[in-house]
Assembly symmetry: C2
Homo-oligomer: 367 residues x 2
């Protein structure tokens, strides 16, 4: 049986190979000798920044394709390695490269020093060239280069798949949706805290654009298209399954940040509260809190920083107001909606495979 580990072993080196090729200058011209070193530093950083992801999106793309395609009837139980699947691997890599591009810019906006346990791209480049201004500029350009590179990777991959043109369009739509999601995410930070319903709506809306778009909707859409579904039908299924799944994934991520997890999320508990992030949990807590508690939360999240006592107090209020339970209910309901949309496909024995691939986005205790 074609396992996740098998796919990971293919994806990981392929990402490095594609990134190294497509962040370098094209063969249509030479790079001057004096400038090769800086070009080399940027390419090395592109490869380094591309390492260490969990590859959830690439794995969903491939698993969904295996489950949906009918040209290789056995493909849902034993992986095939034909031309179409190799193209699909590259398309899956393109999503991961896009994520890296987005994270590089995200870290510049948030002034983050670390990413995946290593210095963030712009910080690493600042150190490499011994200049804050130039290093930060190189980091910004590295994000741009990766964002262009992933489109070229996807374009080449789509040539070996059904619905070539619809896949190209879907990749660009995905990229645009995430970029708009980042704008909306910055907008949430300016949303007043005195209207909890509007804040919850806004936060859930950001999850749809910033997270579900490329985490679940696009991987599923690529799989449906490459498996030969018509563009409208493919989009309908991908949204019906992927939108609730992606929103539930982000809600679960935010919830685990507060209640901790058996999985190692790599972040200390309460990190979002410490940063003052406006989350659905906060909105739900504000909506259900007594007047004095609401005032306490608003004061806490309007301040420039929050100490450990305040973080603990916020977590306590998230629990006592029922916000944590509300998030559990939201996640459960969204997961059910996603499951139902999968069941409606009428896939018979391949349904289990697709459901398993989707289930990986929601920790078992939250499904």
């Amino acid at each position: 049986m074609w396992t996740t580990d098998h796919d990971l072993a293919i994806i990981e080196p392929r990402i490095a190979e594609l990134v190294r090729e497509l962040t370098d200058a094209p063969a249509t011209g030479e790079v001057a000798g004096a400038l090769r070193p800086v070009m080399g530093q940027v390419i090395d950083q592109a490869v380094s920044s591309s390492e260490g992801g969990k590859r959830l999106r690439a794995l969903l793309t491939l698993a969904a394709f295996d489950a949906l395609r009918t040209d290789f009837p056995g493909s849902s139980v034993s992986g095939t390695d034909d031309d179409a699947r190799r193209s699909m691997v590259d398309l899956a890599c393109a999503i991961e490269v896009f994520q890296t591009a987005a994270l590089v810019h995200d870290d510049i906006i948030d002034e983050s020093d670390l990413r995946r346990g290593k210095p963030s791209a712009h910080r690493a480049l600042e150190q490499a060239v011994h200049s804050g201004v130039i290093g930060r500029g190189l980091g910004l350009m590295l994000g741009d280069i990766l964002a262009t590179a992933c489109i070229e990777i996807a374009r080449r991959a789509s040539r070996g798949l059904a619905n070539t043109d619809a896949i190209d369009e879907a990749f660009l739509t995905m990229q645009r949706e995430v970029e708009i999601g980042q704008v909306l995410d910055l907008g949430v930070e300016m949303t007043p805290l005195d209207d909890p319903d509007a804040l919850a709506d806004a936060s859930l809306n950001v999850f749809r654009w910033k997270t579900a778009s490329y985490t679940t909707i696009a991987p599923l859409l690529f799989a449906f298209l490459a498996a030969g579904y018509g563009p409208d039908e493919a989009r309908g299924h991908a949204l019906a399954i992927g939108r609730p799944l992606g929103v539930a994934f982000q809600l679960a991520d935010d919830l685990l940040d507060v209640i901790g997890s058996s999985r190692n999320t790599g972040k200390p508990v309460g990190g979002d509260i410490r940063e003052g992030k406006r989350t659905v949990l906060l909105a739900d807590a504000l909506g259900a809190a007594r007047t004095d508690e609401r005032g306490e939360l608003i004061a806490m999240f309007s301040a420039d920083r929050r100490d450990e006592t305040q973080v603990a107090r916020a977590i306590e209020l998230f629990g006592s107001t029922g916000a944590i339970d509300r998030s559990r209910e939201r996640i459960h309901a969204l997961w059910l909606a996603s499951r139902e949309a999968i069941a409606e496909l009428g896939l018979d024995e391949r349904e289990r495979r697709l459901a398993e691939a989707c289930a990986r986005f929601i920790p078992e205790q939250l499904r």
Copy 2:
């Protein structure tokens, strides 16, 4: 006769229309009410930042297409308005939108307050949202959104043209080349001043990637491809004509910054020197200067800032060392190379039309 003014009157509103459509959220989902204002601010800024360009690149794309296409024999003298030309207008607009995307990020890297006489995008957004951090983040994302939007504009346009796939690939290659050019440009700022030949090589190399790529090579390549030339032949011609032309264009721009111009460049004389920019003029001056003069220039350009007396002294040295004459010679030789490559096409009466379109990139007194 189809004039430049006629094309400008078509291009300008079309850019605004395309930018407004493709910076907004796709129809596949809603934007929450609380987040519509920030989305509106970003879209308005996208349109505003897209205004006011000279549209040299779009005009070359269209003029070259009119000169090269043979399906409408009269198209070289009187413009046609068939489907192919409308697609070509959109492809021409896509280059302009890409330039805006690049300038938005450039202004963040350079911390520029102004662009085309208005506040730069990130500064305008900082003012609109009353927050430096969030405004700068929105500016960075606006650059990302425009960079994605222009690819979608080009992708839709290429569907109505010959060599669809080669045009899509060429657009992505252009974008990658400019992004790499920006990296190399930052690299030049770190190039030591004690090796003038290496500095001149590096600066000329940056011009090829950062300027010629999208200013002349890509517009010509799109025109050759859309006119039906085979991809390899099209690329060969576009490089032969566009590389020297684009490098000459940037050399002329840098020269006019020092010697002034009858054209209003919109910048005070000596701006590059004031900013300490490492130019080919500086490299040529360093290479030809006496030892004491070279020391003077190195000290001047190693300092954090230069006062007006130093700017005047640098201009004096650029003249007395022969660097200004050297730039004139370089520009003239590159223009001749470009002209020869045009002549080799064997276009008969259409050659004049193409040569005129190319000549617009070099001020008459420097040709």
